[in-house]
Amino acid sequence: MRRVVVGPFNRVEGDLEVHLDVEDGVVVSAEVAAPLYRGFEQILVGRPLEDALVIAPRICGICSVSQSIAAARAIAAFSGLEPTENGARATALAHAAENVADHLTHFHLFFMPDFARSDYAGEPWHRVVSERFAAVKGTTARSFLPARARLLEIMGIVAGKWPHSLAFRAGGTTRSLDLGDTMRLRAILADVRAFAEGALYGRRLEEIAEIADLAGLDRLKGDASDFAAFLRLADALRLAEVGRGPGLVMSFGAYPGTGRGGEPLFRPGVLDVASRTRTSLDVDKIGEDPSRSWLAGAAGPPGRASSEPDIEREGAYSWAKAPRYDGRAVEVGALARQLVDGSPLAAALTAASGGANVAARVIARLVEAARTLVAMERWIDAFERGAPFCVEGAIPTDGSGVGLTEAARGSLGHWATVRGGRIVRWQIVAPTTWNFSPRDGAGVPGPLEGALEGLAVGEAAARSPMVQHVVRSFDPCMVCTAQ
């Protein structure tokens, strides 16, 4: 058995190092390390409460709106404030723009370039895929990047700028949109739709959003779209058979009030993938275990935790803690969100191969992007003219609150406690903290660690592109993982 190190692991957001123990060309065990620590949870302590709205988004440049929203909801949770209807809709719109931009950035810039590598030069699909997706040089960036910038123009209208906006408050958003603004938002989404229905999907967004089974995906495989190119190479490389998830998935629910009957567009919950048992989310079952982290303290709920460095902690190998739900490792992200929401396609993708896998994660992300874009068009039409976007109200000087949201990469929670108007505790559990968790005190591996176990890497070991695919299928955001 030999131990190999993969790093710097690029085309992820932030810093990642992966250690693999390889025997006879197969990964026996993996350790996933977050090698960056900045100490945001300490920086927040002692500050006036609303400074969190300045500090928290700066944890992450790729999901800053999610961080803002979680912080604003934590404040809302103990102040009793609620966003106005327009404010909630504007928040959802900006949040969706970020999440869709992230999904598409992952596909075009982070994930697909690995298939352009010369490792695959002999494959029949390689020439086209490398022309389209070669890192920096591929043709896809020329159409995708301007479309991404256009999508993010929603931020210019709703939130001033991106990343790192102060527009998201407990009571709504700070910029009231007028009639011209809503027409401009329509035009932006029409342009993004034109891009997506062109090179990316080659079909109507609605058609992608409504795919309900594997046969529906099969019907796309003859298309000239980039999505179809992925589906074909996923079959050829059997990407549905690698990167098995831990069997439990979770979602905090996305875009509150925008779904049927006032529910979130994507419902919250916890799902056991094998048994299809769906339970409602119980936040009290969430715990964090720093046993293998360079952090002091013992396992416990985030609302009572701290994050003091202990660089000498024995057995530690990551700055991330190990979050667990009822003691179990959990996968979060677009696939988890779609499974929990009851998407028949997500169910089919995981049933066929016995669990979450590389292909299912990528497909779920692209289908979710289509579902979200369709919903966004609807939200724009629902702004109520003349009604407020933001309310203010008295914020108690003492209290505790939990702010939950779904970032592109999955479930994000902020656990805040305030005394005398000052923050005394602010603990954050981010999506990739779940997915790229280290082992816990009982030795249970995190989802990626488990997903890498049993992976055939052959002689290439650390250089195996299959390692790249499995890791990137989660779309890790390491800067959120250990703040």
């Binding site: 710097p8 090698p35 960056l36 440049g61 690995d114 159409s143 990343p163 700070t174 460095p309």
Partner: protein, 339 residues
């Protein structure tokens, strides 16, 4: 590597990645085409390059050994010296060496060193108290000269660290600075006292603010989403912070103040030290932070005068989230109207 190209190695130190996310917004044909237009070649960027693991390490090692020319080292994020000066708050994955060590070593090989964002420039948010990771900028630690490379550092080309401040900077600031460096058009005289390119840093964020009429009349916003000037009550520092922020469109049309919230002075060294970003600190009801280079007595006199002369339209619109009184000559018995 093309010898005519301006080679850029981009590293992410203690960063959130937001500067790179901003960078990716630039260019009608996408940022890669835009950089190519300016003759800039990314020899490695952690977010977009193909090379990973040992391939990436080989690039860094070749530059460090002097085997590969490096025109510009671009650093995004604070340099983390902690805990206890060890730098172990950030190990460059796969190398066993601290990022602080890599940055110092590679900086010595670079024609110019560029700090992208206020973290790399001055320390930024990670350097905020209690500064858990002992974060610093490349050549400034907050407002103090020094930082990871030291006050006396000059890159091979002779420039101190070029500081594209901002959190995150406007993507145009990043690309235009790199383009000017590639064209050999940016010299020491083009940088201000803390290394910020003057083309954006010789302005104040306040210049071009759509709320300027409210500012002139001291018609102040009282709540988030009010249309009035945010300086008196809501913490806005745009009259003190440098940047042509309100002369450029952010994400197509926006800016912080246009978005309805205060400028937090993110281009300034040490901006993270503020407490209570969303409220204006006052002594005896008077804001502590007055516009840069304006005598306090003058400001107070002008403010009193302009407040007394504020038109009703400006006064009422300032405390509303939409225009309640349109412009127009006042009519008898009413407001607004076009005649």
């Amino acid at each position: 590597m093309d010898p005519d190209r301006f080679s850029v190695l981009w590293l992410q130190a203690g960063s959130c990645g937001g500067c790179t996310m901003a960078l990716l917004e630039q260019g009608r044909r996408g940022v890669f085409e835009e950089l190519a237009t300016h003759g800039v070649e990314l020899i490695w960027h952690p977010s977009v390059s193909e090379e990973t693991g040992e391939e990436a390490r080989a690039i860094l090692e070749a530059v460090e050994a002097g085997e590969r020319r490096l025109d510009a080292l671009v650093v995004e994020g604070s340099i983390l010296m902690g805990p206890g000066g060890t730098g172990r708050c950030q190990i460059l994955a796969g190398t066993g060496r601290t990022m602080a060590d890599w940055v110092t070593s590679l900086a010595a090989r670079a024609g110019v060193v560029v700090a992208v964002g206020s973290c790399a420039a001055f320390g930024g948010i990670p350097a905020a108290a209690p500064d858990p990771a002992e974060a610093t900028g490349l050549q400034f630690d907050g407002p103090d000269r020094g930082g990871a490379l030291g006050a006396g550092f000059r890159a091979k080309g002779g420039l101190p660290v070029v500081a594209i401040a901002g959190c995150a900077p406007h993507p145009g600031w990043i690309v235009e600075t790199l383009a000017a460096l590639a064209a050999d058009a940016l010299g020491a005289a083009d940088l201000d006292a803390v290394g910020r390119p003057k083309f954006f840093a010789d302005h104040l964020a306040h210049h071009g603010c759509s709320r300027n009429e409210f500012y002139e009349f001291k018609a102040s916003a009282e709540r988030a989403s009010d249309r009035g000037c945010m300086m008196e009550h809501l913490g806005c520092k745009a009259t003190q912070a440098v940047g042509d922020c309100n002369q450029r469109a952010w994400n197509g049309s926006g800016s912080c103040t246009d978005g309805g919230y205060a400028c937090i002075g993110c281009t300034s060294p040490g901006f993270e030290a503020a407490r209570g970003f969303l409220a204006t600190p006052k002594i005896a009801g008077i804001p502590v932070g007055l516009p840069l280079d304006m005598p306090k007595a003058w400001f107070m006199a002008l403010a009193a005068l302009s407040k007394s002369a504020t038109p009703r339209r400006v006064r009422l619109n300032a405390i509303s989230d939409h225009i309640v009184v349109p412009p127009g000559r006042p009519r008898r018995g009413g407001e607004g109207g076009e005649t």
